[in-house]
Amino acid sequence: MSAGHAQIELRVVSKPDYLAVARALVETAAQKMGFDAETAGKVVLAVDEAMANVIRHGYGGKEDQPIWIRIDPIKDEGAAAVQFVIEDQCAGVDLGKIKSRPLDEIKPGGLGVHIIQEVMDKVEYRRRDDGRGVTLRMVKRLVGGGSQTGEK
């Protein structure tokens, strides 16, 4: 995984049962970093969707592959924000195909990317520096000047 010292970091294998573990971590971290309970809940949903997409589409349901989550308070264009980074080692993911679908058609599936984009202020997918996998960087700003410690 890429170098760096995140304030909070979790490595978990791609087992759907562990999504609940990641949610618990993200919810606690988001609240500690200044989000109110409602916003923290939405952030948890976005991270959960991102991880489920990695498990389902990236790893094709394999349950023994690594996923990393890093959480850091940052400044985003001068505003206090929290950065959530999800990294994987998925091979062959076409980043151009990761997109939201129109919501006017009522059909099951395909909502995850929409949810991530709707909840987060910034969403960036890129190949990892070592070429093995994808890095998803999501930023959510703290609105209303929530208390935050340890900004970079």
């Binding site: 087992k15 759907p16 049962d17 999504l19 609940a20 949610r23 409602e38 809940g41 939405k42 949903l45 959960d48 969707e49 489920a52 498990i55 389902r56 919501l103 009522i106 059909k107 099951p108 599936g109 909502l111 995850g112 929409h114 949810i115 709707e118 909840v119």
Partner: protein, 116 residues
């Protein structure tokens, strides 16, 4: 009950249909099992009114929502109703983000769901 079915907590007949009670967090690890149980229930009972009690569901992700959309479509094809009640704040939140809060029939409680 298999772990994957754990989101399905039982059902109860109504004069014109059935109430299914869901429980716990419904995410990608649990929605496939729930989907199977609910589709089995609909196939067996063919309810004119399918009511889903979500009051015991504190969290749902898009895979859970996809299951409900599939049920919505199945009921609509059968000219039958699907009514939800007991949505907790996080579940309401995902319905709003997915713009599905105006698509589904959502009642405040069981009595409302029986009349919707």
């Amino acid at each position: 009950m298999a772990k994957s079915d754990a989101s399905f907590a039982g059902s109860q007949d109504l004069p014109d249909g059935v109430v299914a009670t869901l429980a716990g967090e419904i995410d990608y690890s649990r929605s496939p099992g729930l989907r199977n149980k609910l589709l089995e229930l609909v196939a067996a009972k063919k309810p004119a009114r399918l009511v889903l009690d979500l009051s015991g569901v504190p969290y749902m992700d898009s895979s859970g929502v996809a299951t409900l959309v599939e049920l919505f479509q199945a009921q609509r094809r059968a000219n039958a109703k699907l009514v939800l009640f007991g949505l907790q704040p996080k579940v309401k939140g995902i319905f709003e983000i997915a713009r599905l809060n105006t698509v589904f029939s959502i009642a405040p409680d069981l009595e409302g769901a029986k009349k919707a």
